[in-house]
């Protein structure tokens, strides 16, 4: 009887120990599985993030160009100020811009790296690039003298002083100011 009782006691303590060990093992496996799962998900997220880094860089450049194009006409380098009577909004002084073009090397990277600015007359239309020789009988002022690819644009009034019958008057035309930005997606690997 006593032997049987002790056998039963030993068996039951062994069973409960085994149960506890099993439970611990189960928990450890579960924790390992969960951790591994989250590590895999994290790696997937990182892979997706870095796959779009060129697009993100281009997006940032594009946003900068868009902000610049809405404000640049009112900056001191471009704005008409009080030269054409009262202060005008979105007015660019063409004479000032031509002088700026002549000294553009002093404004290297001033508006951002690899940013070019072009002012194109919309009306009347034309494709003649402005130089000191042909100004003002021209239509396009390209500050860096480089072709523009990706760009944001805005309408401006392009004003200058003109002569008629020996009298100076203000002549304003409709133009578009275009600010280019670097498209990182086009950069070769």
């Amino acid at each position: 009887m006593k032997r049987q009782k002790s056998k039963i006691l030993i068996c039951s303590s062994l069973t409960s120990q085994t149960k506890a060990q099993l439970k611990i093992q189960q928990m450890v496996f579960m924790l390992l599985a969960v951790t591994l799962f989250f590590v895999l998900v994290g790696m997937l997220v990182l892979a997706l993030r870095f796959a779009g880094i060129k697009e993100s860089a281009t997006e940032i450049e594009e946003k900068n160009a868009m902000l610049l194009v809405t404000r640049i006409a009112n900056s001191p380098e471009f704005s008409c100020g009080n030269a054409f009577g009262k202060s005008r909004t979105n007015c660019i002084d063409a004479d000032k811009v031509m002088m700026l073009k002549k000294n553009i090397d002093k404004y290297d990277n001033f508006w951002g790296r690899e940013t070019n600015i072009e002012i194109r007359k919309i009306y009347p239309k034309g494709n003649v690039v402005c130089t000191i020789r042909n100004y003002p009988d021209c239509n396009l002022i390209n500050l860096q003298s480089e072709e523009i690819h990706a760009e944001h644009s805005n309408f401006v009034s392009l004003c200058r002083k003109d002569l008629i019958n020996g009298e100076v008057y203000d002549k304003c035309e409709l133009a578009k100011i275009m600010v280019s930005y670097k498209d990182w997606r086009e950069v070769q690997k």
Binding site: V41, C91, I122, Y123
Partner: protein, 163 residues
């Protein structure tokens, strides 16, 4: 046996919940990483266009100034004045604005711009010049109302671009 089965069931249930939460999280992440595309026509473009064309110097002269900008030509049209070369100021205004808008907002072919409308009205709603429009109206549009008051008179310019 029953206890073992219960534990296994609980484990599977827990794993399923984690997988479900992770999938939902990935979907939200995908939406947040999606780049917003640039609008075909921005509001600032339409606003700047009106401000710029109001300053455009026309070839209609008067006795005080050599040539009138659009802003003053509108007033001249309302006052029924003629240019120095005897042309009607309203005709010059209408033709100049039509030319400006046609060059600025191209509607032909497969271009993204589908149409536009320009209306200049007095305070009482009277049109200064006939409506200038081209193309079709669509449900996507960007429009601006520009009021201005030269010499105490109230005018309103409505310009809408459809895309």
């Amino acid at each position: 046996m029953m206890i073992k089965k219960k534990a296994q069931e609980e484990l599977i249930g827990f794993a399923l919940i984690i997988i479900l939460v992770a999938i939902i999280g990935l979907i939200f992440l995908g939406f947040s990483l999606k780049n917003s595309q640039k609008e075909i026509v921005e509001s600032y473009e339409v606003e700047s266009f009106i401000q710029a064309f109001l300053q455009y110097t026309t070839d209609c002269g008067n006795y005080r100034e050599n040539y009138l900008p659009i802003q003053k030509l509108i007033s001249a049209c309302v006052d029924d004045k003629t240019c120095l070369d005897e042309r009607d100021s309203c005709d010059v205004l209408s033709s100049t604005l039509t030319g400006i808008i046609e060059e600025s907002w191209k509607v032909d072919g497969d271009r993204p711009i589908q149409g536009y409308e320009l209306k200049i009205v007095l305070e009482d709603g009277t049109e200064v010049i006939p409506l200038i429009s081209k193309g079709n109206s669509t449900k996507n549009s960007k429009g601006v109302l520009q009021p201005f008051m030269p010499l105490g008179e109230n005018y309103e310019i409505y310009f809408t671009v459809y895309y």
